[in-house]
């Protein structure tokens, strides 16, 4: 029984590498049908595994890897981080954009104030009068 346990612990080495004590394993196997069966079953599976050929990886995997890396690089760019990394930065950036847009609308394309602005800033305009009146 002890010899069976000892032999079985060495069967993988025996199958793969022919260890130094191979002769002892062989002697036991010759006299022990149970260990002989065990060795045969391991040998059968090992042989079957060695008959499996490697498969080629599908070509499309590189496109997926490349696209993932590009997306990650884009996300780690300073502009993206500013806009998406922290909510306060995103809010501040949005506010600046809004103010710039609003100013350009008020000033107008040729540096002339549009009628709405003239009405707001002229003391003779109805709006100006009403504002003064309110004060």
């Amino acid at each position: 029984m002890f010899e069976c346990r000892r032999t079985r612990r060495r069967l993988i080495d025996y199958l793969d590498d022919s260890p130094p004590d191979a002769r002892r394993v062989e002697r036991h196997i010759e006299s022990c049908p149970a260990c002989r069966d065990e060795l045969e079953s391991l040998r059968l599976s090992r042989k079957a595994l060695l008959s499996v050929r490697r498969s080629a990886a599908p070509e499309r995997i590189w496109a997926r890897v490349d696209s993932r890396l590009r997306a990650m690089e884009a996300e780690s760019s300073p502009v993206w981080r500013l806009l998406s990394g922290r909510p306060t930065y995103a809010f501040a950036a949005g506010l600046v954009l809004f103010l710039v847009g609003a100013c350009s609308l008020l000033i107008g394309p040729a540096g002339q104030a549009p009628p709405v602005v003239l009405m707001l800033i002229s003391p003779l305009s109805p709006v100006g009068i009403s504002v003064q009146g309110c004060m």
Binding site: R9, L42, L44, S51, R54, V65
Partner: protein, 182 residues
């Protein structure tokens, strides 16, 4: 083709072309380990993708103390085992085994034709093993690595690896009982 060390150095400095060369050299190896360890061909594509993304992002962590391929195998095996343990494959649990293991109706029909009946039986038998045993026999017999390297990749003592291989071969022999003429 340049040696792995040169390519790894170039990758560290952000050379995407060098990374593509490394990918081409190792993609089959990673894909086959991912396929056998996960037991699912479609999932193996996801694992292969994740393995290379992690490798690209983790080049600073590769010190060169081991071979590049060992480091990459380790990422692939961990990714495959993690994918299984997080239950990502539960959705496919009811899919027939052959649909997961074999590319019968997948995008590579020529692959299905190429597989012999023996290979199909072997892949089915591998799929029925526990993941740690699957990883051990895949690295040892399908990839042809020695026991020391397998132990390094899976992060277990050599004795544990031998034991897993022994149990895996024994379990497989029951499933492969009718293939004595392999």
């Amino acid at each position: 083709m340049p040696a792995n060390d040169d390519l790894v150095e170039r990758c560290r400095s952000g050379d995407r072309r060098a990374f593509e060369e490394l990918f081409i050299k190792h993609r089959d190896m990673v894909f086959n380990v991912a396929w056998s360890t996960s037991g699912d061909r479609e999932q193996a594509e996801d694992i292969t993708q994740e393995t290379f993304v992690k490798a690209y992002l983790g080049f600073s962590g590769f010190r060169g103390g081991s071979k590049f391929s060992t480091w990459l195998y380790r990422i692939a095996v961990n990714q495959a085992l993690r994918t299984k343990s997080t239950g990502m494959r539960r959705a496919r649990a009811e899919q027939p085994l052959d649909d997961r293991v074999l590319p019968f109706d997948g995008p590579e029909p020529e692959e299905a034709l190429r597989l012999s009946e023996t290979e199909r039986s072997v892949r089915r038998a591998i799929c029925e093993l526990p993941p740690a045993q699957r990883a051990a026999i895949t690295l040892r017999y399908l990839e042809g690595l020695d026991l020391a390297e397998v132990a390094q990749i899976v992060g277990s003592p050599i004795g544990t690896v031998k034991s897993r291989i022994h149990h895996a071969l024994k379990r497989m022999s029951v499933a492969l009982g009718d293939l004595k003429d392999v």
